[in-house]
Symmetry: C2
Subunit: 334 residues, 2 copies
């Protein structure tokens, strides 16, 4: 059912049947370490290069989500997947063996929200009994693509985030499962003119604010309706900006706001500056800690809002700003 | 309605309300020149660089499709769009002013098939009254991203294709319009191990064959059912491989096969070697010549199969092959 200008409410909410997460050693040593399905100590995951390592993350979380859901891959109708790398090479090479009809997505670090939105729409419409929503990131493949070679050892400003090595996959179906997707609010491209590639939180916060306020309008709810509103990877800098914008709109979310980028690392001990980032940040946090809390009914209503900054070295070097996008997914306890 | 393993048949087929195309001068001088809505003689489209020029293509075809369909942009529920460039910068910057909730897609040159598939699914499910499906490519931004700087003046082998400067946009809705989308067959990643980045036709032909054969199985039809089966940008080399594979399967499509990459340029006069390519190749050809023929009922049943090669300079330089994907969309006269 269409709500407002940018939202859907599902009359028969699709279910999250199972979820799987895999992270690297650093993430495993962070505050959420106990919640992840797999912690991989080899940053190459036994492969030859960083991109193949990231593909291996996607392959493993997809396999594990299917195993946990006890569903064979040939029962899965569609795969909605993407990653941060140009031409989605982590996804292309990571998901080939699944042999599932695929829609490749690019929403930067908002990809988990985008893939779950389209996956839920697909299942709710009866287009498939099961679909997979999947994404990943890798610290080293992202640094290589977007910033400096690791060997260069560049200094990182305090506004910079640390790309999470990890991935998450949810299996979405019609019945049973651990949680339900009751609605979505799809984001627009938002550009506040931020041009600092070492401050992605500032680039994404206005997009998160836009999607959350749009969601409140479309669903006729406010911040009191949710146990948690969880953004993807704004980090400490972006969180402050988001809460300031929301306060200016008399929508104070300070008490219920949580950011996966803040949760996944220990800022003091792990030297991660503004927090974690990357598609894998919100995906791995959702598929471990967040869904665990929802399944246990610690949180009954969660607005999950992965945030993406459309950073490209090409447009950045041409003097363009970094626009953001954020996709909202309402996840509720069963 | 789900059909077979990878297809949907729409009980109430969504309509293509309107379509718009824009191409560069070279494409305008080709055999289809008279069919395009706009031919732009300035390769920069008045902008500062190739990427901004490509963004301008997306902006203009989206605006024109809305004008031709007489629909205001605020009536459009979702935008399904993408392009060839890393992090979809042509789309990100080109569609921002539309302020439409957006799903960013990456399917390489198959993007028009991917965006129309998801757009048709969305409208058929009642999730939106109108959606836009949009993509583009630009010869110079693609050469810069994937091959050599233009200034290098490299020689191109005869198996190479020429990336089309152009774009296409369709407005999909429930009623009226110029054609209907009656079904889709969604492609899988297919890798036959092709490693020659100057022979994309060979990389994509097995994916096209896979999707077409899957479509025949799912819909219980054969090559005699269609007036045309139209691939995206296989070019002369890929067409031969596709027809050979299909012949081996006793599915001879030679007489009804057409390839946008072959149609859009005059091979002898325009020095384009194996043909045209790029997301804009199939998009601009669909939104001009193909839909014109369907609207006039010259062709009543068309299987439109844009083809994509998941080429990345990173994975290519790491010795990986180039996998392909192809998305089938059944377009019928009203």
């Amino acid at each position: 059912m269409q709500l407002g200008n940018a939202s859907l409410k599902f009359v028969n909410p699709p279910r999250i049947i199972s979820a799987a997460s895999l992270v690297g050693q650093k993430e495993g040593e962070g505050p959420l370490g106990a919640y992840f399905d797999k912690i991989e100590r080899d940053p190459f995951l036994g492969k030859q290069n960083w991109e193949e390592a990231e593909s291996e993350i996607q392959k493993q979380v997809a396999k594990l989500a299917l195993e946990k859901g006890r569903i064979q891959k040939d029962k899965v109708r569609y795969l909605f997947a993407g990653d941060l790398l140009g031409q989605l090479i982590a996804t292309s090479f990571g998901t080939m063996d699944l042999e599932i009809p695929m829609f490749g997505l690019y929403g930067a670090c908002s990809t988990m929200g985008e893939s779950m939105s389209l996956g839920a729409m697909t299942v709710a419409a009866g287009y498939g009994d099961y679909v997979l929503a999947l994404t990943s990131s890798h610290f080293a493949s992202a640094e290589k693509q977007f910033r400096y070679p690791l060997e260069y050892g560049n200094q990182r400003p305090f506004s910079a985030t640390w790309t999470v090595t990890g991935g998450g996959c949810v299996l979405i179906g019609k019945e049973g499962g651990i949680a339900q997707i009751t609605g979505i609010t799809t984001g627009k491209m938002i550009d506040f003119g931020v041009k600092d590639s070492m401050n992605m939180g500032a680039a994404m916060a206005p997009a998160a604010a836009d999607t959350i306020s749009q969601h409140f309008r479309d669903f006729s709810v406010d911040q009191n309706y949710y146990d948690k509103i969880i953004t993807g990877d704004l980090g400490y800098v972006g969180q402050k900006i988001l809460c300031d914008i929301m306060n200016d709109r008399n929508q104070d979310i300070t008490n219920i706001h949580m950011d996966c980028g803040i949760e996944i690392f220990d800022q003091e001990k792990q030297d991660t500056h503004a927090g974690g980032s990357g598609c894998g940040c919100s995906a791995a946090t959702l598929c471990s800690y967040i869904l665990n809390q929802i399944e246990k009914k610690v949180w009954k209503k969660v607005l999950f809002v992965p945030t993406g900054a459309l950073l490209s070295t090409v447009s950045y070097n041409e003097g363009q700003s970094i626009p953001g996008i954020a996709h909202g997914v309402v996840i509720e306890a069963i």
